[in-house]
Subunit: 98 residues, 2 copies
DNA sequence: TGAACATATGAACAGTTGAACATATGATGA
DNA sequence: TCATCATATGTTCAACTGTTCATATGTTCA
C-alpha cells in the first residue's frame, strides 16, 4: 500500500471525481478544452438555462477546476490547469475502447 | 471540437466518473490495485459490512471496472483492466499537487 | 443430505443533488 | 444616475444514491 495515509487522499479523490460525474459539468469542462468561454456562450452551446450553468460553474470554481475573469459585462471561464484536461482524456480513452 | 458526436461520449464519460465519485467505490478500487481480494477481505479492510461492499461490487462489475472469479466459497474481485489504474493515478496526481 | 459459511439481493430510509424559477447583485454606457 | 445587460444566488422540489437490515442463494465438506 502507499507510504502516506491513503484514507484522506481517497476521500479527496472521490470528491474530485464527483466534479466529473455530472454530465452538465463534464460538458462544460469539455467545452472549455477549446479555450475560455463566457456564461452565455456555455448556456447556448449546452442548450441549458443561464442559472443552471452558473450554478455548476460556481461548483467547479470552488473545486478549483476552472478560473474566471471578467471582461466588461461578461465572466469568462477557463480550465484551471492541465490536470483537468488529462483527467478527461484518460477517461475518454477508457470510454472509447472495446 | 472532436470529430465524432461528442454528446454521447460525454454522457458515458460522466457515467464512468460516477463510479469513482463515491469513497467506498474508490477505496475498493484502490485496495484492488494490490491484487485480487474477496468480499470478506474488502469488508474487513474498509471496515464496512459485507452487504454494502457487495452492493458496490455489483455496481462496479456492471460498469466493467472489476471482474470476479469464484474460488471455493469466496468470490475474488480484481480490476478489469489497466485503465482503472491510470484513471486513479491521474486523479491522485491532481489531488496531491499544490 | 444438511449445517455452516460466503456472497447476493430486495426493500426501506435518510441524505444528497441538480434543475427551475424568481430575484438580487454588479457592471456598462447613454 | 438609471436602464439594461450579464451573471450570481436563494429556494424549492423531485429524483437519485448509498447504507442498513433481513433474507435468499449458492457452495463446501462432514
Amino acid at each position: 500500500m502507499a507510504a502516506f495515509d491513503s484514507e484522506d487522499l481517497l476521500y479527496d479523490l472521490a470528491d474530485l471525481f464527483k466534479m466529473f460525474a455530472d454530465s452538465t459539468r463534464v460538458r462544460i469542462l469539455y467545452a472549455l478544452l477549446d479555450g475560455e468561454k463566457n456564461v452565455g456562450e456555455l448556456a447556448d452551446s449546452l442548450s441549458m438555462n443561464q442559472s443552471a450553468i452558473s450554478h455548476q460553474l460556481s461548483v467547479l470554481k470552488a473545486s478549483k477546476l476552472v478560473k474566471a475573469r471578467r471582461d466588461k459585462k461578461s465572466m469568462y471561464y477557463c480550465l484551471a490547469d492541465d490536470h483537468v484536461e488529462s483527467i478527461i482524456k484518460t477517461g475518454v480513452e477508457h470510454v472509447l475502447e472495446p
